[in-house]
């Protein structure tokens, strides 16, 4: 009898606990309702990609020396480098270059290893097509520069969270010239120079 | 004839027609699923009859119990045992069908004569019963107490029986006759070859 009563009591306790947890969950979801929507309403608003954004790859035909390093460092040997040896100049001459962005994983290894910096990452991410073969970009397509989000009159550019001024959560309607929190790279460089200038006489004294 | 009487007459006709047609469908259709659904139709039209007889509580109970419980149970049984098996046509099937028809017709004739010969005590004006649930309760707890309690005992027995059947803790052993290859409960399992490493060849020097 006592055991049965204990069972009943435990069961009741568990039910109350379950009810408590559901109540806690409800309070969490209720709290989320007053939070700011994080939606970027895409075709009308676009996020400004960050400096290190790894988008579609840009290629400069004239800089390329057809060394094929990009092919070797690519995880799947994706870039196609079509060259022939020009005997008169004793140089490799590039005929065609192409990257299939339907297959590319945007790891950026080719950009990293390119000896002449003829490859670079752009901020373009709108790579939709009706046919996947349209994503196979040749050297002409690779040479095009992407449209900047901030210059498109149809689009409201929105800053990413890390680029908002201190204490601001809302990327809409920022005041003009509002700077992000922390120092900008050029400020850091400036500071470094000043530090060096300040430190130089001290080191002279020691010497 | 007032409007209310006309409506009643038309609804009675429609309900009778649906009852008879659906009942015939239950008996005559080949597809057992159709029969089960039509049975629901029969129950609902009978509930409509009850409504016409001012028995709204009974009508609702009819829908709840027969359509909502019994018919759904039948459908469950049919759909869980959905075995489409072509039945071998019986020889002399007409003998059975004829016999069934004879018994049914006899029963119908019997009930018909009873219905016709009994002198029904028809009240000239239907008494207006205000709260049918109240009246039913009064009757259940006064002059119909014994049948009511007996019915509840019957239901209790049925429930206990169902629980006893369902709560059987052990399943009787499958027959050990291994000779039967068509035993359904055996999951065919590929006999595993013992994985042993190949004996290494002595490296010849």
């Amino acid at each position: 009898m006592l055991k049965f009563l204990k069972q009943v009591g435990d069961y009741a306790k568990e039910s109350f606990q379950a009810a408590k947890y559901i109540g806690q969950g409800l309070s969490v979801t209720f709290d989320h309702m007053r939070r700011r929507p994080v939606t970027v309403q895409y075709p009308y608003e676009k996020i400004i990609p960050s400096e290190r954004y790894r988008g579609r790859i840009h290629f400069e035909f004239d800089k390329c020396i057809a060394c094929e390093v990009c092919v070797r460092v690519c995880p799947i040997n994706l870039p196609v480098v079509d060259w022939e040896f020009n005997k008169a100049q004793k140089k490799k001459q590039l005929n065609h270059y192409s990257i299939d962005f339907g297959v590319c994983i945007f790891c950026g290894n080719c950009v990293e290893y390119c000896p002449t910096n003829c490859l670079s990452m752009t901020e373009e991410y709108e790579l939709s097509a009706y046919d996947r073969h349209e994503l196979n970009y040749d050297n002409v397509a690779l040479g095009r520069l992407p449209e900047k989000v901030t210059l498109d009159p149809m689009v409201t550019p929105l800053r990413e969270f890390a680029y908002l001024p201190k204490g601001v959560m809302e990327p809409h309607d920022l005041p003009k010239g509002a700077q992000r929190a922390g120092k900008r790279p050029e400020d850091i460089l400036e500071d470094l120079k000043q530090d060096k200038a300040a430190a130089a006489p001290v080191s002279d004294d020691k010497a | 004839m007032t409007l209310a009487e006309g409506t009643q007459l038309v609804s009675f006709g429609v309900l009778t027609l649906t009852t008879i047609v659906a009942a015939l469908g239950v008996v005559l259709l080949e597809n057992i699923v159709y029969s089960a659904f039509l049975l629901g139709g029969v129950f609902i039209s009978i509930a409509g009859m009850y409504l016409l007889l001012n028995a709204d509580f009974v009508a609702a109970a009819q829908i709840l119990v027969y359509v909502g419980a019994v018919n759904v149970l039948i459908l469950f049984a049919i759909m869980l045992v959905n075995k489409r098996e072509p039945l071998a046509p019986l020889k002399n099937a007409w003998v059975r069908q004829g016999l069934t028809a004879l018994v049914c017709l006899g029963l119908f004739a019997l009930l018909g004569t009873v219905a016709i010969t009994t002198s029904w005590n028809v009240l000239p004006e239907a008494p207006v019963v205000g709260d049918t649930a109240l009246r039913l309760g009064e009757h259940f707890f006064s002059d119909f107490l014994l049948p009511f309690e007996l019915a509840s005992v019957l239901l209790l027995i049925a429930m206990i029986g169902a629980i006893v059947l369902a709560r059987r803790e052990f399943i009787p052993d499958a027959r050990t006759g291994d000779g039967d290859p068509n035993l359904i409960f055996r999951l065919p399992e590929r006999p595993r070859d013992p994985v042993a490493p190949e004996p290494l060849e002595p490296i010849s020097k």
Binding site: S15, G25, L26, T29, H32, M33 | G68, V72, L75
Partner: protein
């Protein structure tokens, strides 16, 4: 209780005064409340769908529909139009008859149940003597339609979904009926009007939610299960069953299921507010308020205001409950089928029986507080 506004008799009187015979006047009046209720139910669904989308978006920190009308209020209309114009496909080797009848059988009982939903003393289609019981018995017809559409789709997901839906709705009907029975026992009547009137005396303190603290939880859980709302949406669990019994449906037939589920949700919320939250009664009785101001509650304009307050109160309570259901949808994860049946048969059923027993005992012990 005061009778309040009696629209029926005044409308019939108006028609008779215009020179129509009284029988014809009654016939002309008859379809009006029914049509009105259909419109109310459908508009209620549009509002509920919009609320569902907006609140879900808010909970997930999105905007939700924005561009169809101000704040996207026309989005449900756009959805409905889209479904209306979609091609009506009957799958190959499906059973065309059962496939077509199934959705109708699901929807019709739900709409029929609106017969007993009161918005005021006389603002109800019919004040049936078996009110609450009619709702319970009609809601037991729905599983047949679900089984029918699940079976006729010729699709295993649809069949499993239909079987699950039927099993779930049968299991949860019993605690639902038992919790309603406790209410009925306290108000000595099955009629929804009487149930509200019994709670109307002391304003918010007289509502049944204080007298049935266990019952209303059981009712709400069972109602969520009956309407297949999220902790209990197993029949259409999209991760496992694609869409359950709706898998093969498109166009208007799918729209019927969609409509039916929302109409059912609103119906459950309406009946919850009638059974437990005092229906159309204001938290402070309107008569008391009128006495404070110093006007008689029988004056015509006071009665109009009373009726307006009543309708508003019913709708406010109902949509607060719909809001709770939507919030619960994004709070609780879906239960497994065995957990669902365990909860129904091993928890809710015994608890609701005990609740019924305690209510009966309290009714005998304190007939003043528990409706002697």
């Amino acid at each position: 209780m005061e009778s309040g506004i009696d629209l029926q008799s005044s409308a019939i009187q108006l028609l008779v005064d215009l020179g129509l015979p009284s029988a014809l006047a009654k016939v002309l009046w008859l379809p009006l409340p029914m049509a009105l209720m259909l419109v109310v139910a459908t508009v209620g669904v549009l509002i509920a769908v919009w609320l569902e989308r907006k609140i879900s978006a808010a909970v997930q920190q999105r905007y939700g529909p924005e561009y169809a009308g101000p704040l996207g209020v026309l989005q449900p209309v756009a959805d409905g139009l889209k479904l209306l114009f979609k091609e009506d496909i009957v799958p190959d080797r499906a059973d065309p008859w059962l496939f077509t009848i199934g959705p109708a059988i699901v929807v019709i009982p739900v709409f029929l149940s609106y017969l007993i939903v009161p918005f005021g003393q006389n603002l109800v289609v019919t004040d049936l003597g078996i009110g609450a019981f009619l709702w319970i018995s009609l809601s037991s017809v729905t599983p047949i339609g679900l089984l029918m559409s699940g079976y006729s789709s010729n699709n295993k997901y649809a069949l499993i979904g239909g079987l699950r839906a039927a099993a779930q709705s049968i299991s949860y009907e019993i605690p639902l009926a038992l919790s309603v029975l406790a209410i009925v026992m306290m108000s000595n009547s099955l009629s929804t009007i009487d149930i509200v009137n019994q709670q109307a005396d002391h304003g918010i303190l007289g509502w049944n939610i204080w007298r049935q603290p266990v019952g209303f939880i059981i009712f709400w859980i069972s109602a969520l299960a009956e309407t297949e709302r999220l902790p209990f949406d197993l029949p259409e669990a999209e991760e496992e069953l694609v869409a359950g019994y709706q898998t093969e449906y498109t166009g208007m037939k799918f729209a019927l299921f969609y409509l039916g589920s929302y109409v059912n949700l609103i119906l459950s919320a309406l009946l919850f507010s009638v059974f437990y939250l005092g229906g159309w009664s204001f938290p402070i009785p309107v008569n008391t308020l009128a006495a404070w101001i110093g006007v008689s509650p029988d004056v015509a304009w006071v009665q109009v205001i009373t009726a307006a307050i009543g309708i508003t109160m019913v709708l406010v309570k109902t949509y607060a409950l719909v809001f709770l259901a939507i919030l619960l949808r994004w709070t609780t994860p879906r239960v497994r089928i065995d957990q669902l049946l365990n909860l129904g048969w091993k928890f809710l059923l015994p608890v609701s029986l005990a609740n019924l027993l305690i209510t009966a005992g309290l009714k005998l012990a304190f007939p003043v507080a528990f409706g002697g």
